[in-house]
Amino acid sequence: MTNLDLARLQFASTSIYHFLFVPVTIGLAFLVALLQTTWHRRGDEAYLRLTRFFGTLLVINIAIGVVTGLVQEFQFGMNWSAYSRYVGDVFGAPLAIEGLGAFFLESVFLGLWLFGWGRLSPRVHLATIWAVAAGAALSAAFIMAANSWMQHPVGYAVVNGKAQLTNIWSVMTNPVFVWGYLHVLLASLVTGSAIMLAVSAWHLKHDAQVDQFRRAASLSLVVLLPASLFAMMVGSHLGVIETTYQPMKVAAMEAQWDSCQPCSFSAFQIGGGKNDETPTKIIAIPHLLSLLADDAWNGPVTGMNELNQQYQQQYGVGNYVPNVFIQYWSMRVMAYLAVVVFLVALLGVYLLWRKKLMSTRWFLWLAIWVAAIPFLMNTAGWLLTENGRQPWIVQGLMQTSQGVSPSVSAASIWISLSIFLLLYGTLAVVDWTLMLRYARKDLAPEGEADEHDLPEAAMAY
């Protein structure tokens, strides 16, 4: 493998791994804040105990999310120095704003929330968990603004062979960003509420603390149903936006080599890759691709061959088609699983409404396993959006092959990649065992000190 392949593999591994934890943090922080708010308003002790219970799960995840975020920030310079030099003027600003405006908020208030029980007034303490939730959500905003600029660069000019920021407002109102960010927020809510639902269902299935965990199950279902619906709708609109700015990405997700109008969508297909331009569509749904890509019954989709020719005229000789297999299947994995999650949520809300949630044992079993799905969807979503941009690192401006660090050898990346993969693997195992262990614990009795509570002397410094 060349240093380019290795650098890409390392970036993909780190980003995918990091984003296993990020949506959990964003989603669960919001839900824990909701639990604590409910306790605060109703004075129902069950909600306090649930707050602390799910707070522990949140914190186990944040720990890994935060430290792998460090790798994310460093690796642009480490592995993509030519890219960093080229885009830093534009791309660096949202990253720095993320640190100053969002990450500080999340980290400082997490400490206050975690250790502040009994030290802060209940009202102020409640505000701290909302600050954590806001910080986590804001953090994603700036990262998405930076990423969206790579998908659809706006508000810049190329001066002396480097991109220069000319309008920060354009960067922050980039349509790819606005819709992409909303999509990420909703996906995070889906992830967080699916986990809360699964943990609650496990306890309900074991008839443990039914009274309390029924409350958590209700809350998670009430969040999961609209979040999964809106995530699909927003994602669908994001597809329409991408048809405008990144038509190749959309053509590749249908393996559409020739232009079409109207265009059908295949439920499954065999072939369709580089050397097989006439795939066997198993179930072709007429007009569906037109609707997905253009929001129009008879909308056209420009095929990859035509786009490739256009790009060759515009940017010179080369192959501008991304990996079609990844595009085609990541889109379907994401979309099909989204429907599954939505149906499960719908069923859950129905059972809740008919007061049959507890008696429908198979649903409880199902709800436990559904928690795995958002992680697959999130990963597929990133593969779709990042692979679909290839061969560009910044759409239309710089190719990925030009962005890699010239001074970092393949041997160096082999070393770092092995170290990171070993570390990620170990941490995943530790995180998983801790999550299972704490997810299966009983709720702590009210007022019991946890490991974060330490006795204080009367004396201050």
Partner: protein, 338 residues
């Protein structure tokens, strides 16, 4: 003053803030097994930084992102040149970061001992590697005309750079031990105080030698500048204050010593941001590595709005957790009592 200079100062301030704050976290991480003999004691020692270390580490993230935004070429060349050192640094920060949360999540001596060791190692390696990395900027690395690194891993480890790393480790030990003496009571306070006091001699000598060596490296003769002298005097004063059991003032002195040492370094680096040992013409400077005025202006507005706010709410955290901690036994066996 141009925005480029302003941003160089801002980045120096961010690194200084990082070391003043995270410096004692590193120290506490290194020393928690030395100052705390029993499990309960170690929990208290780590507990002194529990609520704050994460927020402190964000200073590093912002310092890094600030370099990226304000000086993209500096960020690109620095992080790719120091590639393997950065990998090690990330590993150190990762294992140390998760150890805070994971250590207490299970009982069992092996589990706790493993995470304790990882925390100690990570807390020691991190300032050592950052010290080496920063010193390399000033000492010079083989960088060619296209701002790319042409050397190998061993070029990163000049004697000066390694000594800079060790000096930072010592400063973290002094700063961290002093912090524990401020934040605990009883036996732990005494142990931390004695340890801090004992470390002042070596740390003071190292800071002095580092100051002199820096002047030699930048060809400014062999006399340390006034900030280095100030740092050494502060360390001497901290020794005296620790002996007098005035730990709060001693902590102010060690914080000053840390800040002065880091700031001196950036003052001596200016106007370069990365020195090329290949040819001085290839040096990256505040002028040639920076972003354009518009991006710097945007960043300046953002920094002026957010940085004071961050300082206020982070400062408030220290107020909330101002009380000294003690072991449950020393507190009369009432966990959670406040």
């Amino acid at each position: 003053m141009g925005l480029q200079v302003f941003w160089f100062i801002a980045i120096a301030v961010l690194w200084t803030g990082f070391f003043v704050l995270e410096g004692f976290d590193f120290g506490v991480g290194m020393l928690h097994g030395v100052i705390g003999k029993t499990e309960a004691e170690q929990r208290v020692v780590t507990g002194t930084i529990g609520p704050v270390w994460d927020g402190n580490e964000v200073w590093l993230i912002v310092a890094g992102a600030g370099i990226f935004a304000a000086f993209p070429s500096w960020y690109a060349t620095m992080f790719s040149s120091l590639y393997l050192a950065m990998v090690l640094l990330l590993v150190a920060l990762i294992v140390r970061g998760v150890s805070f949360e994971f250590r207490g999540k299970r009982d069992g001596a092996t589990w706790k001992k493993t995470w304790s060791r990882l925390q100690t190692a990570g807390s020691l390696l991190a300032p050592l590697l950052i010290g080496i990395a920063l010193a390399d900027l000033l000492h010079g690395l083989p960088i060619d005309s296209s701002e790319e690194f042409t050397g190998n891993f061993w070029d990163l480890l000049s004697p000066y750079s390694v000594f800079a790393g060790l000096t930072l480790v010592l400063l973290c030990v002094l700063h961290g031990a002093t912090y524990v003496s401020v934040k605990t009571d009883g036996e732990l306070r005494e142990r931390a105080r004695r340890l801090a006091r004992r470390s002042t001699v070596v740390t003071g000598a190292a800071v002095l030698l580092f100051g002199v060596w820096t002047q030699v490296v930048i060809h400014h003769g062999a006399f340390p500048d006034f900030l280095t002298v100030g740092a050494v005097l502060a360390i001497v004063a901290s020794s005296w204050l620790l002996g007098d059991r005035r730990e709060g003032w001693a902590f102010a002195m060690t914080a000053f010593a840390m800040a002065a040492t880091v700031l001196t370094f950036f003052i001596d680096l200016y106007p370069n941001v990365m020195v090329s040992s290949t040819d001085a013409a290839y040096n990256l400077t505040v002028q040639n590595a920076s972003s354009a005025p518009y991006a710097l202006k945007v960043m300046t507005i953002v920094a002026i709005i957010f940085l004071p706010a961050v300082m206020i709410y982070q400062g408030w955290t220290y107020h909330v957790f101002r009380r000294r901690l003690m072991t449950p036994a020393a507190a009369g066996g009432a966990p959670g009592a406040s």
